[in-house]
Every structure is written in C-alpha cells, then in structure tokens.
Symmetry: C2
Subunit: 485 residues, 2 copies
C-alpha cells in the first residue's frame, strides 16, 4: 500500500535529463521543444548545449544480439542483458556507473568504449544481479573501476557511482567503502521517470504495444508524452502519475507483484529461477485450478456478460479438490459431487505431494493427477498480472490518464505477462486505453540515475539532492571527477 503525497516539482526547474533544456524559464514548453528532436541537426546543436548531460545520444540504437547469443548468464547469478544501446557518436569519457538496487534485483548501467572495435563511440551496458548477492555486484563495479582507469587514465577516485532504489540507501556505506569512490544517491521515483522519458523520446524500437495478433508493434519515437501513468512492477508495484518532466506523484501501488509470484511459486512448484517459473506457466492450464464462471453456473452468466470461461476465482478449485482427496483417503467411498470426478484423485506436484493425503485405494482408478506445477504457475501469473492491470486501469481513470507504461523487472519481455496486462487494460477500458511496454523495462531507474549526473557548475542542481543527504565533500570529489570529462 502507499500514501498519496503530492510530489509536484517546479515546472521551470532545470532538468538534467532534458538534453535541450535551457535554464531560461521563458524557453518554450518541453513537449513542443522536444518534438523537434526528429531533426538531427537540432539534436546536434542541443547535445553540447550548456547544462546538458554529457552523453551524445545522436543516432543511439539498440544492439540486437538476441538472435545470435541468448541472455548471457554470468557467474554468481549476474545476468548480462544483451540489449545494449550503442551510442555511435559519443566519444567523451563517462566515468560513472549507475545502479538501481531493488528488493530482488540490482540493475547496473554503464558506458564503455569498445577497444576491440574500429567504430567510434561506445555503448550503454545493462546488467542485473540478485540483490541478496549485492557483494557480487559491488565486486563487478570494482573491476569496472579498474578497467575505466586503465582506459581513461583518469586518476583514482574519478569514478562515480550513481545509486538509486531502496538499496541505494541500504547499501550506501557498503558500496562507498568497497569502491573507495563517491556514491550519489538519487530518488527512486525521479530516476524511473527520467529513464522512461529518455527511452520514449530518444531510443528507436524501444517502446511497443503487445497483443497476440500483433506481438510487437513499435511506437514512433515521440516527444509529446505527458501526462501518463507509469506502472513499475518489481517485487512490489508502484504506480506513478507523471504530468510533466519532474512532475510526478506516486498515486498508488500494490504489494501483489513479482515478489509475490516468485515467492509463492518457489514454494508451490519447487522452481529455482524466474525463467523456470515462466517456462512452466507457458505449458500450464489454469482452468485446472481456477474456478471459472462455467464451473459455478454450468453455463455462462450472460445476464451480466460473464463468459463461462471467465475466471471467477483464482485457485478456486484447489480447496475443493483437496477436500475430495482427503475424503477419499478417509472413506474410499464415492464422491458426493459427481461434477469434478476427473479432479478427485490426489494431485502429484513437485513440492506439493505432502500437502495432500496419501493416495487412497479409491483413487487408483483415476490415473491423471488433477493439476500440475505448470497449471499453478499459469494461474498465479494470470492472477497477479490481471490484478495489476485492473488496478492500473482504475488508477488511470481516477487520474484521467490515457497512456499507461509498464516497466520493471517482473515483465522480463515475457509474452504471456505482456499479453495479460494488455488484455486487462483493453478489457477494463473497453478498448479505449493501451498498455505500452519497453525493451529495457527493468532499467528505467538505473538509466535515469545514469543520466542524472551533471558537471559541477549546474545552477539549481543542489535542489535535487534535498533529503538525499549528499555530503559537501562528496560533492567536491564528484565535481572534481566531473572536471575530468
């Protein structure tokens, strides 16, 4: 659950992620201004604009390796995301790393030159670690620091780490001590928005809609993006209303998120990885465990438009089956209710066997177990995704937002998840609203933190650090590093 404290921030404030913003409040409205981005000359001129982040995003594109190499799995559960973003025109050294440490995953973003490549520029690299292996993440950052120093010849301490997410606070000292560098903490929600705005306005083939008919429909890179609702699905779910650059408010959320799916499925199915769980869900049949309208009515409930295939109760069949199995165990007599005969034998599921009574002689006649770990996985994936979709729709109604972006590591580009979220938004809004997804859905916060870094002589930057507790000496160190660039 969440409170609804307004987070409105001055509109005229200088914005770090706005590559063409001028400190002059009289400059045109951002949306209009940004729309001109399609003109690359315009971009050129704005890249070096004073106060802009020193990253040349001109011609940025996603390096698609998915075809050749599958998601590389690093040691100690580190996962290298192969969807790097190439910045062919960026030559300046970016001596900082950004990390977004959530409840389950730590997401890392850093820029690297390509020493072995003849092409100019370099790329943004995306990686994630499990948060409970944060030490591996820190270790990796150490190695990066050493590499950077060799490559850039920048003096020790020049590297700067931008940290966001809850772990940015929880592990602040750990990271700082381990690396012996500055750690700048940035607000989680703000970074999410900055990152999302960057992806929407700068990266082609990043944002898309999803449906079974048209799996991946990329949307044009556009600039007139406000207002919108961001639904960020990690371990938990945050819903953020964004009215403009830096104008955002966390309007709600739900504790039923990725952590709930992963936690319950790890207990129920014995799966050991998220991808294993998603793989199971692909094969499963939720109607084995879900109570459908048809199971209750024997038909549909046309009068109020409920199809017989509509899920009336997630896992609604399980208790009944378990009771029947138990009854069989007690008295191997016939069932009272003939309707679920196929379900009356005791289920055999990895990790569930002993949650059910021993097979009774009576049940021997029936071979097939009533439901499998895959059925459970699919049912729970549906339940969680549908629920997020419904709440997102209702929040978008309450706050009159017609565009809904779904981000966060829960989605993982998984088709079933995206399809369920899309369907829920379409269903509840009677087709009036659409769900939008991103290829870097898990990295909004990390990219936002990466982009937040600016040189020292930045007029109003201090105001961003309110309550973030960035020490002055840290600021000095940081700006010293900045001068290096």
């Amino acid at each position: 659950m969440s409170a609804e404290m307004p987070q409105t921030i001055q509109k005229n404030e200088v914005r770090a992620e706005d590559h063409d913003a001028s400190p002059d409040p009289s400059s045109p409205a951002p949306s209009k201004h940004l729309r001109m981005r399609t003109n690359t000359a315009e971009i050129d001129s704005t890249i070096t604009h004073p106060g802009s982040v020193k990253i040349n995003v001109k011609g940025a594109f996603i390096v698609d390796q998915d075809a050749e190499s599958p998601k590389a799995k690093g040691a100690n559960g580190a996962s290298y995301d192969t969807k790097d973003i190439r910045l062919p025109n960026h030559t300046a050294v970016v001596s900082h790393i950004a990390v977004d440490i959530g409840g389950s995953l730590a997401k890392l973003v850093y820029f690297s030159r390509e020493p072995h490549s003849r092409e100019p520029g370099g790329r943004l690299n995306f990686m994630n670690f499990e948060t409970d292996r944060i030490d591996d993440c820190v270790e990796f950052m150490k190695e990066l620091k050493i590499k950077q120093q060799k490559l850039n010849g920048s003096r020790p301490g020049a590297l700067c780490v931008m940290a966001t997410g809850g772990g940015g606070y929880k592990f602040y000292d750990k990271i700082r001590e381990a690396l012996g560098v500055d750690v700048l903490r940035e607000d989680e929600m703000e970074c999410l928005i900055i990152g999302l705005d960057f992806f929407i306005t700068e990266i082609p083939r990043e944002v898309f809609t999803y449906s079974e008919e048209e799996p991946m429909q990329f949307t044009e890179v556009h600039a007139d993006i406000y207002p919108y609702l961001l639904v960020n699905i990690g371990s938990g779910v945050s819903m953020i209303k964004v009215s403009g650059p830096r104008e955002y408010q966390r309007v709600g959320g739900t504790s039923l998120g990725g952590g709930t799916l992963w936690g319950l499925l790890s207990l129920l199915t014995g799966s050991r990885t998220f991808d294993e769980m998603l793989g199971m869900a692909e094969k499963g049949d939720n109607s084995k465990v879900d109570m459908l309208v048809g199971d209750i009515y024997g038909t549909d409930y046309g009068k109020i438009g409920l199809k017989s295939s509509t899920i009336a109760s997630s896992f609604g069949k399980v208790f009944k089956m378990k009771r029947e199995a138990e009854r069989e165990a007690e008295d191997s007599g016939g069932l009272m209710n003939g309707d679920e005969e196929s379900e009356s034998s005791s289920p055999i599921i990895d990790g569930l066997a002993d949650a059910l009574p021993p097979k009774s002689p009576g049940s021997e006649i029936k071979k097939e177990p009533p439901f499998s770990a895959s059925d459970i996985s699919r049912s729970l994936l549906y339940a969680i995704s549908n629920n997020i979709g419904q709440i997102a729709y209702l929040q978008s109604e309450k706050h009159s937002l017609s565009t809904i972006y779904f981000g966060g590591s829960f989605i993982r580009g998984h088709r079933q998840t995206m399809n369920t979220l899309s369907y829920a938004i379409k269903f509840w809004s009677n087709g009036e609203k659409k769900a939008y997804f991103l290829r870097h859905e898990g990295y909004l916060g990390a990219v936002g933190a990466f982009l937040k870094r600016q040189p020292r002589n930045w007029g109003r930057r201090g105001s961003f650090e309110e309550g973030v507790g960035l020490g002055t000496e840290a600021r000095a160190e940081f700006s010293a590093a900045a001068r290096e660039e």
Copy 2:
C-alpha cells in the same frame, strides 16, 4: 474479471422485498417512504399491504446465541448458523426454502415455527453446506419438506424452493427431482441486493462498522440507503453499484477472493478448514514472509510517505530465503547478504518441507525456522483483503459511491479480515469512506431469494423471470402453493 453491462431496471416496478411498496407508480420514492419505518404503526399498516411479501417482520431481531453455544457443526460439513432472526409477529405458514448455491458454499434460509416454544411467531434459520456436498444440502431440504408438511398439514408439493447463485442453475434438475417440488431460480445479483436492503432497513444490530478501537459499532436501522457499493466476497468477488431498489450494475470484481485464500493456504499450510486457516492467521507474523519498505530501504521512504512497516511485496522475502537455503545446501558457506541471517535456515512448515532443500550442516547453527504456516496464512489474508479493499475503493471513486458494504461468506465475522478491509478503505479514502459489515454477511443472496416469493396474482412479477426460464407449469404449481398461505 467481469464485464460492465448496465443492469438498470425500471424504478416504478413493484418490488417484492419492499414491504410497503404499492403497485401504484405514483407512490413516493422508496427511500422517503422507507424512512417512516421507524414508526411501528406505519409498519403494521404496511405489513398486510397488498402485494407485500407475507412475512411479518415487525419486531424482528437477531437471536443471539453466540454467547452460550458456539457455531453448531452439523454432520457432513453442514454448519448451522446460530444467529437466527426471530419474527415474533409472524404466524402465517411460509412453506418455502431459499438456497443460494455459490462456488464453495450453499447457503440455506428457511422459516420455522417453534413447536416447543410457548411464544408466537417463529424464526428465520440460516445454514450452509459445502457446495461439493450439495447432496447433503438436498437431503436436509427433504427432511425440512417432511417436517413442514407435518407441521403445516400442507399437501405434498406445497413446499417451494427458491434457488439462486450459480448452483441454482447447475443443480436445478438435481434439486427438483430429489425433492419433487418446484424450484424457482432467481438472479444472483438481484437477490443479493434484495437481501442487503432487507438487512439494512429491517434488522436492528445487523449492520456495523469495524475498527480495532471500536470493534463493533452498530449503525441505526435506516432507510435512505442509496446509492451504495456492495462488495460480495465469496470464492470470487463481485462489486455491484446499487442506485435504487432493483437498480443495480455489476461494475467489477476480482478473481482474488476467498477461493484463492482457501486454495493456496490448503496447499501451503495443510489446513483443512477455513476456520483453521483463520485461526493460524491470528497467530502469524506476516513480516516473516512479506518484504516491507524497511527491508528494501533499511528505513522508511518518507519522501513519498511510505512507512518502513508498509508491505512492499507480499511474500517478497520467500524467494530470497529459499535461494539462500538452497545455496547453503549446495555450499555450506556463509551468506552473501547478512541481512536475513535469522531466515537463512530451511523453514519447517507442514506441507512445505519438501518444497525446500534438505537441511545443510551449515544451517544447523540456526535453530528457528524462518517462517511458519501461520506467518503464511496471515500474509495471504492481508494480501487478499488489502487488495479487495483497494479495488473496492477505486470502484467507489469511479462511480462516486461513498458507502461500501462488504458481504459474502469470506468474511465470516473474522476480526482480522474486517479490520484489514476497514483499514484499506480508510487508508485509500484518507478517512473519507467507511466499510460496513453485516452479521449475516453470507446470507444476502439466500434471504433475497427467500423474500422474492410472492402470491400468484402479482401484476408485473412475470417481468422478473426474464431469461430465468421458469416453466409455466412450474409457475402454476408455485401459485397453487402460494394459495395455501
């Protein structure tokens, strides 16, 4: 999930449950009319008003046996609800039974004289059976039929069964053949509304608000009740917007309901009854399995008003713990992350043991298992109740409804459930909206069906049966029975 098809019904239609309604459309608006109910003389005069249901509700009150006798448990899982409603002034024979058959429970309501009591009148009896034991329910109705005939001397076939809920359709033939009587099917949503209106407007000490400070605050019996939102929580959840008598629309719902809680907990904890599960939830500590804001931030996230005790992710700690336990099993080396040390031994939970790796030597040092079946029960009860509360609030906002009634068998007068639902409504509405509960929360539909029965010569009644498929001969039989009264 649910569709949003408007169910608007004529306002001036004669209403069975409206004890003082006149067929004359020019009669004053129900709400005004009903407000006069506080005057018993007015009631008297209206009780016998043509077209009113032949049940004298004057002086109706709840027979409170909770103190002396606990909920009586019948054979074959039949549960006698001890909160009977006494109708001291009703003497006419009511030769019908009403049953509301849902996905998990069949709720039975019938009127009985009190042969062994010297007092006049009789009482409304409330009972429920598990739906998969529908045959026991039918058997009980058979016995009732025989009793009724002895008592009332009414001829065979005089008994009439009013059936609603999905089972009213699914088991229509079964009941009809078994009892050899008519079965009148009534629309589920309509019956819920009729029943709720009856409880709100007729029964003292029925409706109440709940909070830890003031556990059970009864609301005055009042008449000006529209509009309101009814959240009916059974196996699944239906949310119904009620604008006036018979003016209702199912605006939404969620598949995460009682069936989900019971199904998952029966698998996870090995509990065999709802009450066992609720008992466990009482003792549990959800913070053992839920990821709290404090677990992620190490503190609160004050900037957006999230307390460190706020649940960020339900079951969000489980996957991490399981991974750690597994890692220990693999290499009995120390944990990467020291934060969950007390949770790093493999949990011992009924029905979960084998969902986790065997205890490793490394984990022997730690005695206490990280979480128990009770912790799981409490976490899931919170998750489901919070979620229903949030969706109910958002729906009430979308449809501008300030009063929210919670009904359905999921609640079962369970304090934690009511407290969580109340808190959710209070939290999301910033204290502007209230949750209302009923002592007969599970019997709205059954009572509504019971009250729907009227004598034959009832002008517009036919219109109610649209699409319900009541055969003409059945109608004839039924009215013959009606004449008996």
